[in-house]
């Protein structure tokens, strides 16, 4: 993997991290946590924020890639095993967003009956991105920030006239157990801390980088929380049926009736960012595979993308089944890889470094 810049990591957290949570995530959260969905989301963000902080601390202390750190501490074999496991994790974490995005594109951007073929070109883009290194991720983040900064606030502003924030009350109506469940069952949408772990050593730690990255993470988290609040304020008790949330919140603005759905302009722009965001876990998967197998990126890129394409075809009509499997059955696996393993790896590396 080539070099990233701290600026690009910040842009990633500000613009690309939130877009992964604008489609099915709000409805999934509302299903469990109802009007207290902000608490569930905040809980996840705090956990992931802690991971981000630990990884940035590690970056400050060592500046070495994770593979090298693991190799030094546990040997090459274990490093490869860890990378192999994370390759599987990144592959799994790419699948559900991929199906989400496919449904979004086919249901929202195409008015009439559309086929999977309309979405298939994504895999070419993803394949191309996978053959490139981290620098492509950085450039994507550079492009994503202005697009997101323009389109996201406009969609929120268009939704505000129809938002009744009192719908978020009462705060005591949902038991803490359901809020925690909402949080745990949505762990598969929180993969960004793990990405940062694998970017270790691929960016140069500069003065104040930890503060900048954490600040960017906080900004991205705020965008997600704002979106969730507006989403629930618009839909209240029927929020859990609103798939493709970002396409739904702004459509009720009647001041633009004569112009039609002007929000589509901004949706298209956000869809662009989403597409690039979706490439990231695939790229990370290929990166981990490469380190495990020790080969050039072409072969794993082709294999991973072909497999994802095949699974997208296979699960074309089974989104709900996959979502249920990932959120209600495999949540512990996702939580392990998203929070515990990165935190454990960072803590271990830090502890070992302190010991003589």
């Amino acid at each position: 993997m080539e070099k990233l810049k701290v600026r690009q990591i910040c842009f990633y957290f500000m613009a690309m991290m939130p877009v992964a949570k604008l489609l099915v995530y709000p409805a999934a959260l509302a299903f469990r946590a109802k009007n207290c969905l902000l608490f569930s989301s905040l809980l996840n963000s705090l956990l992931e924020g802690a991971v981000v902080a630990l990884v940035m601390l590690l970056a400050k202390k060592t500046g070495k890639p994770l593979f090298v750190l693991l190799e030094q501490r546990a040997g090459k074999l274990w490093a490869k095993i860890a990378y192999g496991a994370f390759a599987l994790y990144f592959f799994a974490s790419a699948l559900l967003p991929l199906l989400e995005q496919k449904n979004f594109v086919l249901q929202v951007l195409y008015e009439n009956a559309s086929t999977l073929l309309s979405f298939a070109p994504f895999f070419l883009l993803s394949f191309y991105a996978c053959t490139k290194g981290a620098s492509s991720m950085g450039r994507i983040a550079d492009v994503a920030l202005p697009v997101f900064a323009l389109s996201f606030p406009v969609l929120i502003l268009l939704a505000l006239p129809h938002a009744d924030f009192a719908a978020l009350l009462p705060l005591s109506a949902v038991p803490a157990r359901e809020i925690a469940k909402g949080s745990l069952f949505s762990a598969n949408w929180y993969t960004d801390g793990a990405f940062l772990l694998f970017w270790l050593g691929h960016f140069e730690y500069e003065k104040g980088a930890a503060g900048k990255v954490l600040g960017a993470y906080a900004a991205g988290t705020f965008a997600v929380l704002l979106f969730l609040a507006v989403f629930y304020a618009v839909f209240a008790d029927i929020a859990l049926r609103q798939q493709n949330a970002v396409a739904q919140i702004a459509k009720y603005t009647t001041s633009f009736t004569s112009l039609g759905r002007v929000d589509y302009l901004f949706l298209f722009a956000l869809a662009l960012v989403m597409i690039f965001r979706m490439c990231i876990p695939v790229q990370m998967c290929v990166h981990c595979l490469r380190r495990t197998v020790g080969c050039k990126p072409l072969l794993p890129s082709a294999a991973v993308n072909l497999l994802l394409l095949a699974l997208t075809v296979f699960f074309n009509y089974s989104f709900l089944e996959v979502q249920t499997l990932f959120t209600q059955k495999l949540w512990s696996v996702f939580a392990l890889f998203a929070y515990l393993l990165p935190a454990a790896a960072a803590l271990l590396a830090l502890r070992r470094r302190r010991s003589p």
Partner: protein, 427 residues
């Protein structure tokens, strides 16, 4: 270098194949001539037996000038979905519901839970939940059959009556599917829909209600009458409409029916609870919806004589609040409005006409009194029928959650209503 060239060629070939697929229409585009553009759906209790009659009003585009519409009814279907499927199956058209802007419910349907049928639209993304929902007197099928001088397509005429502009002036209480569903699935379990009535009194040049009623309306085989009537293909329907209504000359088409939606039907648990009169609808809109500018008549003494004054009202502040006094709930309407006299039914001195912006105190007090009476009447109707029209129960749940269990069953009747309504004129 050689590998780069190879990949460039592979990508070029892939792009060419994708372009070929796109231009050969293999991306699932639908031929517009094969498509039924459903602009409105009407749902009634089945005329015979159990189930529903689902009427689709289908826009028939014309080459030039305004198009017309055909009504197709699937009779005796058990679900709305079955009705739509039958429409597709028996006409061979592909019904796209993305252009459906109105769901009209027959009055008889409101005796049972209307979400028995509206559930289809919540399950199905084919219809945007921003489409309007209304109830009509009689059946939706007959209402769609009424010809309007306002628009050749009756659904479009109804949608004009239910415009957001109408809502802003308080004459109509417009509701979209999303908002109606939010109310139903909330703790209130309540909602309100505009109640459409057809007045067969308007006259228009070159058309009549009878002619409009003869617009192609198809019902097929044992469920759809008449049996084996020709399909409502675009060209014949368009020609028929044009011929019968003198479309060529540019004269006004349509019949003599006008649609009114100034009454509002209240719902509790999906069933009809009560109907608000036009005055109560206006008061409800002024107190609780987006309406901030309205017209209304009051009778007041002006210069020592009784006169009917038409007032223009501009709502400056509207607030509803729930509080507790001595352990009992108190619901307060706070409304501040400015009013000016737009007209009176009596001749007035030129000075009064010149200073029409300044409403007399007696007129303002009369306006306050009338507003209060109508609002109280609407609130009483709602409370009696269990409909949480003003969101009292919802406020109890959201803002006084600890008292919710104690009052959830009787809050509407137990709450004392207070009206803090003040009208002022321009000074």
């Amino acid at each position: 270098m050689r590998t780069d060239k190879l990949w460039a060629r592979v990508f070029l070939a892939a792009a060419a194949v994708l372009l070929l697929l796109f231009f050969s229409n293999d991306f699932g585009l639908i031929d517009i001539r094969e498509t039924a553009i459903v602009v409105a759906l009407g749902i009634d209790e089945a005329e015979e037996g159990e189930g529903y009659d689902v009427t689709a009003q289908i826009a028939v585009p014309a080459n030039a000038g305004p198009g017309s519409a055909a009504n197709v009814t699937a009779k005796g279907v058990r679900t709305v979905s079955e009705g739509i499927a039958e429409l597709n199956q028996e006409t061979g058209w592909y019904p796209t519901l993305v252009h459906c802007r109105l769901i009209l419910l027959g009055e008889a349907l409101t005796e049972r839970n209307v979400f028995d049928v509206l559930g289809y639209f919540l399950r199905n993304e084919a219809v945007e939940d921003s489409c309007q929902v209304a109830v009509c007197a009689g059946t939706a099928r007959e209402t769609f059959g009424a010809g309007s001088p306002v628009n050749d397509i009756s659904a479009s005429a109804i949608i004009k009556v239910l415009s957001s502009e109408a809502q802003k002036t308080g004459l109509v209480s417009v509701t979209i599917l999303k908002d109606f569903a939010v109310g139903y699935y909330s703790v209130s379990e309540s909602g309100a829909l505009p109640y459409i009535t057809v007045k067969e009194e308007a006259e228009s040049q070159g058309g009549s209600a009878a002619q409009a009623a003869a617009l192609p309306s198809l019902v097929r085989n044992k469920r759809w009458r008449p049996v084996r009537e020709p399909l409502p293909l675009a060209a014949p329907a368009s020609a028929e409409g044009g011929e019968s209504q003198g479309g060529k000359s540019g004269e006004s088409k349509g019949g003599g029916a006008v649609f009114q939606a100034s009454e509002t039907m209240l719902f509790y648990r999906g069933k009809k609870a009560a109907i608000l009169t036009p005055e109560e609808t206006l008061a409800y809109n002024l107190a609780a919806t987006d309406t901030d500018f309205a017209y209304g008549n009051v009778t007041a003494a002006q210069d020592g004589k009784e006169a009917v004054c038409s007032l223009q009202m501009k709502i400056g502040k509207k607030r509803r609040s729930l509080s507790f006094e001595n352990g009992m709930p108190v619901f307060t309407f706070t409304i501040r409005a400015k009013a000016r006299v737009a007209d009176t039914d009596k001749a007035a001195p030129i000075l009064n006409i010149a200073k029409t912006q300044i409403a007399e105190e007696s007129v303002l007090r009369a306006a306050e009194q009338k507003f209060k009476e109508e609002l109280a009447s609407a609130a009483e109707k709602a409370a009696r029928s269990g409909c949480d029209l003003f969101g009292i129960k919802q406020r109890l749940y959201r803002f006084r959650h600890k008292d919710y269990e104690a009052f959830r069953e009787n809050i509407l009747s137990a709450a004392e209503l207070r009206y803090d309504i003040r009208f002022s004129g321009l000074k």
